[in-house]
């Protein structure tokens, strides 16, 4: 087996995980202009729900993904109504309100689930690829497939439907979209609904690939912010590419230089990107 195969595969899997964590955040920020600092805590909420379903009711993982996605829609939609009432400066106010919400959720998790670490460990088989002489745990493959499917679906929604066109118009210029007759409030609701669906999906994956504890949301929010910066605001397809770039960089760094360089190399890459391409690494030039 070529030694690079598992490194690349792990990098892609890790990057897919990062992308799935960031999708909901990027969508809500792009369309609703809401800087959701409680993003990680919402992922945790979904993760804890997944843990309860898996641990106490032995619900199959596929159904856990479905249930969590639907439940989180009903969490993010009220959040939309709450944030809608905020005065200008809207972005700054959403930041403050969601920070408060994050602290509230952290303390609720501490009260409900204690400070203990929780880990979902469903038994995933190993998959063998004989022609590459390479085997990998199925859950890593699931991450890559799921990231491709979800990003593809969101991309198709944005590119191929009227709703998608309206959403894109709102991302590009909210005021112009409003003047063109687009109901941006309703689109904001749609963004929060869709974002909730994606956050709900990320929760069980977070519980399975990381571990749950009341303050873990900060880590998830940081991942989402970094990947969104990598991709550029509202560029859904680039979220996956950004996640992959980050995951591959980290895997290659660990392999070539060691784990101790992982954060430093990622930070240097982020700084370089911010300096040379502040709009994200979109392949297309801005119009």
């Amino acid at each position: 087996m070529w030694v690079g195969t598992p490194v690349i595969f792990t990098g892609l899997s890790l990057g897919s995980f990062y992308a799935l964590i960031a999708l909901g955040f990027s969508l809500i920020l792009g369309i609703a202009r809401a800087f959701n600092l409680a993003h990680g805590e919402m992922i945790l909420l979904s993760g804890y729900l997944a843990f309860v379903l898996w641990h106490y009711f032995q619900v199959p993982f596929v159904f856990i993904l479905l249930i969590c996605s639907l439940v989180l829609v009903w969490v993010t939609i009220p959040l939309n109504y709450l944030l809608r009432r905020l005065p200008e400066p809207y972005g700054l106010n959403t930041l403050i309100v969601t920070l408060g919400l994050a602290l509230l959720l952290q303390n609720l998790f501490l009260a409900w689930f204690s400070a203990d670490y929780r880990l979902m460990t469903p038994a995933w088989p190993m998959v063998n690829v004989p022609w590459l002489n390479f085997s990998f745990p199925l859950h890593q493959g699931v991450l890559i497939v799921l990231a491709l499917l979800v990003t593809g679906a969101v991309h198709l929604l944005l590119q191929g439907t009227f709703l998608g066109k309206a959403l894109r118009a709102t991302i590009q210029d909210r005021e112009a979209a409003q003047m063109a007759g687009i109901n941006v409030q309703r689109l904001s609701l749609a963004a929060f609904g869709l974002g909730g669906l994606l956050i709900g999906l990320a929760g069980p994956l977070f519980a399975q690939n990381m571990y749950l504890y009341p303050a873990a949301g900060v880590e998830a929010t940081m991942i989402a912010i970094v990947v969104t910066i990598f991709a550029g605001l509202g560029r859904i397809r680039n979220i996956l590419l950004g996640g992959w770039l980050l995951g591959l960089t980290q895997s290659a760094t660990i392999f070539a230089l060691g784990s101790r360089w992982r954060e430093l190399v990622s930070a240097v890459l982020l700084l370089l990107l911010l300096y040379f391409r502040p709009q994200g690494f979109s392949l297309k030039k801005e119009g």
């Binding site: 504890y213 303050a215 784990s259 992982r262």
Partner: protein, 404 residues
């Protein structure tokens, strides 16, 4: 003239009330002054909340136990607990608050050296004794701080671990993966020095930031380096991920050994059958206690279960031991009719010699515990079995599990 008499009565009542208020006002502070105020700083929230809360429960139990016995030298003890949120800057603020505003007699608690270190500096600066519950970094105790004491020490972890690796497992090629924290980095350096002395070789060494989501790329490097045993200097949560990823790709290791985070029943429950055969280290457990202290250990377990409706573990016991040390030193000062000053309590701590379930507790000149020694355990049939040192072993190493 009747109204005059009632006016006098009103005045008398007013004077009586004022007198009562005056008496209350003067006696209440006296009653409060009689209380012994202990300050506790632990990470009760944030990424170290789990061990922080476990230490807190141990300390709380020790204080309530002392109060149930009639207090310390007849004086009730008040525990003022503070949360450092797993952040060093908050730990400093809380230490200052406890020292200056609450005027505590002593400080107790603390988990990991990045939090214990700043608290110990505040304690030294303001001459307040501080007994840390979980600290290993040698420089913290070694900088001639007469107010700092702790109930654990690095050598008590490293020595049995290295002897077990070289004498029982007879491993020659070892890899170390540790957290990028001061105590864990020092642990790695010390293990390397000990193993080199014993003729073993550390062929791979790396560190990571706690909270890393993936170790699989690091694990890929183990087979080419022909590593026989992997030592993890990560914490409980890091080991959860590391063990899962280790089990996904069997690497033919003779042993996986982690001094922190594996020797816990909660770890076994969380990881399940994948925990079988792993090695850990611990100073105490409900089923692992020092010979001669079984009765005290059982009493602690029973009382703790009754109060908290859960099992205590080694982290809880570290909290309990540190609080017991501080309370014993205060008691010595009060029984000797001395004044309860920071200097007096520190002097008493320096001369302490206690028999506790976790250790015989006496401090050396640096404030380190002289007799702190962990045992090596292996998870067998979902239980912790002591396998080293031989005089405390309750079972034999199951090599078939270790090599799985």
């Amino acid at each position: 003239m009747k109204p005059n008499i009632s006016l006098a009565g009103v005045w008398l009542r007013k004077i009586a009330c004022l007198l009562a208020l005056f008496i209350l006002g003067t006696t209440l502070p006296l009653a409060a002054a009689e209380k012994i105020r202990l300050g506790e700083i632990d990470p009760l929230s944030g990424h170290l909340a789990k061990p922080g809360q476990e230490i807190h429960q141990g300390i709380l139990y020790a204080v309530e136990e002392a109060n149930a016995r009639g207090g310390v030298a007849g004086r009730p003890v008040e525990l003022i607990s503070r949360d450092d949120q797993s952040k060093p800057e908050v730990a400093v603020n809380q230490a200052q608050d406890l020292i200056f505003r609450q005027k505590v007699t002593g400080l107790v608690g603390g988990y990991v050296d990045s939090l214990v270190g700043p608290i110990s500096q505040q304690a030294a600066r303001n001459r307040v004794p501080y007994v840390a519950s979980a600290s290993l970094q040698q420089s913290i105790a070694g900088n001639k701080n007469p107010y700092f004491f702790r109930v654990s020490r690095l050598e008590g972890v490293v020595e049995p671990l290295c002897r077990f690796l070289t004498q029982t497992l007879k491993t020659r090629r070892v890899a170390i993966l540790h957290a990028a924290t001061p105590g864990s980095s020092e642990f790695s350096d010390s293990v390397q020095a000990h193993l080199r002395q014993a003729g073993s070789e550390v062929v791979l060494e790396d560190k990571f930031r706690p909270g890393s989501p993936d170790f699989s790329v690091f694990l890929l490097k183990l087979p080419p380096a022909r590593v026989e045993a992997l030592i993890s200097g990560g914490f409980y949560a890091d080991n959860l991920i590391l063990v899962r990823q280790l089990r996904e790709r069997p690497l033919g290791l003779k042993a996986f050994i982690a001094p922190w985070g594996v020797a816990y029943q909660s770890f076994i429950d969380e990881v399940g059958p994948a925990s079988e055969g792993l090695f850990g280290a611990c100073a105490w457990d409900p089923g692992i206690t020092r010979p001669g202290t079984e009765k005290a250990s059982q009493a602690f377990v029973a009382g703790f279960r009754k109060k908290f409706r859960k099992e205590p573990n080694t982290t809880t016991m570290h909290g309990y031991t540190s609080a017991r040390a501080l309370l014993a030193a205060i008691e010595q000062v009060l029984q000797g009719a001395g004044q309860l000053t920071g200097e007096a309590v520190s002097r008493a701590l320096a001369h302490l010699d206690l028999q506790l379930p976790m250790e015989r507790l006496a401090f050396d000149a640096h404030g380190d515990p002289r007799y702190y020694q962990q045992v090596i355990v292996q998870i067998q049939k979902q239980r912790l079995v002591v396998v080293y040192p031989p005089e405390r072993a309750r079972g034999r190493v199951d090599f078939s599990l270790a090599a799985r």
